[in-house]
Symmetry: C2
Subunit: 484 residues, 2 copies
């Protein structure tokens, strides 16, 4: 039996976000117990504090899916090798990252663990879809995904196994399919803004960055505090690429057979990582109130002689608040100072302190996590509303802080040298671009990893002229940066 274990854990973040963001991030994630490294390299553990955020994201998005007529299902994790080769670009795109299992199927076929499920799902669609009456067919699954990345694991941002959702819809018409592909992108943006307080840039990926097998890939991208971009979700207009490969055809109202039009779309647990990276500070985690496992923590401050009275009032406050909020009381034997630090480390949006001085004035002391501002509220029926308003205010403040950061750090430049300078200073940069994949490869090589992130729907009014990379005619403004 090991007795080596220390009784107290190291509390607090030991580096500053502005000085070493990678180390800071990893400390915040580990010490707030959102996630942990797994014994298997490249994998991670989603601890209850982190998984809770995922559940809130699921809850939010399941409502969207239901509204839009998308039903949840579950498809097998194992995909026969023969399926991969059916859509040539898709196979080429995913093959290097696939994990195969040692066992084979009854035809001695190799089996992959899904890196995405288009092929296995569309095989079923080809059996299920017979006529226009079966359309649109809209399904989603929440599942684990394996992509054997060689890059180092970044907790919640990059790992060989992760959780995600993937939606797969089939339609009669091109128009309806395209419209919904963009509609789901809008819903992604709303989720980020309404739930996670992260404003995003909506747009399209370049040909080079497109999903393997898609006609168009749309993306929501966020600018992280260090100037790197993070892709938060993508929707893909697949056209008839997969329906032709998998023979998904239907008898139309016109009595003829047609191939369906399809889209697919997904986001992952990376959303949790983005939330941490975006809002947190040198004291630890900062969480948007809607996804915080504990929204309000009450810290009673008492001695033996007033313990009963203080705890009595604390209990009353808790009762009042928990009708609409996730509340707990820190009754541990730690000092108040230690409790304050821990509540801050864990990212609890609101802390309520109640000591004798508060009680004498019939108030509570309230500390908001985002700004660490202290205020007092009357201890009466208005307390619940005041706390609810404060929650809204915290969400808005987090959102606006990031919004301002993006506005400040989105630069426009037609000169590549200047653009790279700006990127190295923590910005992402809009450049005029020709869209040629070769030109894009050149960009990446010349600049030590700068890539195109998104062609924003919201294009600058100014016409583009020459591509900032190759000097040929440019097609659009594209945001370039380094990326997570």
């Amino acid at each position: 039996m090991s007795s080596k274990k220390a009784e107290k854990k190291d509390l607090g973040i030991t580096v500053k976000k502005s000085e070493d963001i990678a180390e800071w991030y990893s400390q915040v994630v580990l010490k707030s117990e959102l996630a942990d490294y797994a014994p298997v390299k490249g994998c991670m553990i989603l601890r209850p504090n982190g998984y809770f955020i995922w559940e809130k994201i699921q809850e939010y998005f399941n409502k969207v899916l239901e509204e839009k007529g998308v039903r949840n299902a579950y498809f097998p994790m194992f995909i026969p090798e023969s399926f991969f080769v059916k859509e040539a670009k898709h196979a080429q795109g995913f093959n290097p990252e696939v994990a195969w299992i040692e066992r084979k199927d009854e035809n001695e076929m190799r089996l992959a663990i899904r890196p995405t499920s288009e092929t296995i799902i569309y095989d079923s669609y080809s059996r299920w879809i017979r006529s226009w009456r079966d359309l649109p067919l809209k399904m989603n699954q929440w599942c684990n995904i394996v992509r054997w990345e060689t890059n180092a694991v970044k907790l919640l941002l990059r790992s060989r196994e992760f959780l995600w959702h993937e939606g797969h819809c089939a339609y009669e018409s091109e128009e309806e399919c395209k419209k919904e592909t963009l509609m789901f992108l809008d819903e992604y943006a709303k989720l980020c803004e309404d739930l996670l307080a992260i404003p995003v840039v909506k747009g399209e990926k370049t040909e080079r960055e497109r999903f393997a097998g898609a006609v168009n890939t749309y993306t929501i991208e966020a600018l992280m505090p260090d100037g790197k971009a993070l892709q938060l979700g993508t929707t893909h207009y697949l056209g008839q690429n997969f329906s032709k490969a998998f023979d998904i055809s239907f008898l139309g109202k016109d009595g003829e057979q047609h191939y369906v039009y399809q889209n697919s779309f997904g986001f992952s647990t990376r959303l949790i990582g983005a939330t941490v990276l975006m809002h947190s500070d040198d004291k630890g985690l900062v969480l948007p109130p809607k996804v915080a496992p504990i929204q309000v923590r009450i810290v009673p401050i008492y001695r033996e002689n007033n313990k009963e009275e203080i705890l009595g009032s604390v209990e009353k406050i808790k009762q009042m608040l928990q009708s609409k909020l996730r509340v707990d009381v820190d009754l541990s034997d730690n000092t108040p100072g230690w409790k304050f630090n821990q509540a801050e480390l864990l990212g609890i949006p609101i802390r309520i302190e109640l000591g004798q001085k508060d009680l004498d004035k019939n108030v509570v002391t309230v500390v908001r996590r985002d700004t660490l501002e202290k205020t007092t509220y009357e201890m009466n029926d208005s307390l619940l509303d005041n706390i609810l308003n404060l929650m809204d205010d915290i969400h808005k403040n987090l959102y606006n802080r990031v919004k301002q950061h993006i506005e400040k750090h989105t630069i426009r430049s037609s000169d590549l040298v200047n653009a790279i300078e700006k990127i190295n200073e923590g910005n992402w940069v809009l450049i005029p671009f020709c869209g040629n994949p070769v030109c894009e490869d050149n960009l990446r090589e010349k600049t030590d990893g700068v890539t195109t992130r998104v062609i924003p729907f919201d294009q600058p009014k100014d016409k583009t002229e020459k591509c900032a990379v190759c000097g040929e005619k440019s097609k659009y403004w594209v945001i370039i940066s380094r990326a997570y």
Copy 2:
């Protein structure tokens, strides 16, 4: 493009439950679109109708978990081979069914896909648990599991990949741990009864049938209509077997290091299969109302001249009912007869028909799926309550039908030859048993697959004497039968 597809699907079940239950079951599952065979042998697809039932089970049990202080998390699917060997019996029990991946970890260690997660979770527990303050530690995960069975796949009952939940708790004391192991079993039984209308027998598994690595395994078993048993969930008291193997120790209040006591418990998507098998009939699926994707289907019966009036009334009824129920209206161009058959095939608990005759009398015709009885209700404000009451009644009726079936088919016998006869006639049989694993192997061999299912907590009052198998001193009454 294939034009081979038929426009209409075959509707209706073509064999009787009493004549060929295996074929009947598979038709019900496929035709009601609960699940489908996957292109990979041994795997299955949970279609939206089936996955919905799983979501209802999750919703129910997540509330239980929250009440009991168990938090959801997610651990990696890949388990290093070195972990398996730490608890010898556990390794031995699971090794034959493990699927390994071709890729190895950085130490050239083979990686398994989880057949259960004790080892990977307890490795983390050994790092996270330091003192009595960290206990109890209670976590659960909802995830996919792979066990490479060689038996044929039975949709929703036996497949190489399936979904389940697994709870893992660590405690300071043996007493608390044992108590909660039984408490979770009680919760399993309640879930089956309250949600799925399936009465179960609670008890313990024999040594031979115990979970690999457990001190005690408890089970809820249900008697299926054909007399076979189905294990619906198990909870395991692990004692200190794993805590010693994985060094999960803590500093106690006494200042000494101790090993934790642990339990684990799980149920799977098999619960859906049990529900189908138990309640359904020759017309198709019968679902307990609480888990039915559609609870009420309204079928309007009209001609051109009264279409508007009928559909107007139908819309009003729908509006009223959907405040508390999942309701839809069949507006397809099929005939009423076809619509009735389809609603029955899909297991929709209540069908409401509205035609001119009903409208003239200001009533609706209501058909309950469990008994197919027809009745009429006034079309006024009382309709919602009447339908809600009918839902309760359907649940109770389903439950009671099974209850009576179990009572009728639970036989007691001290003579093995007689017991096997009774089993072959569709019963399960309580016999006195010695508990010796060798005797149990003999039973299985002698009888073409009859095994012990459960030592019921509720033992017959009569004392047992000689073991019905070997004639030695018996220890308890045990239920034996064939099993799914």
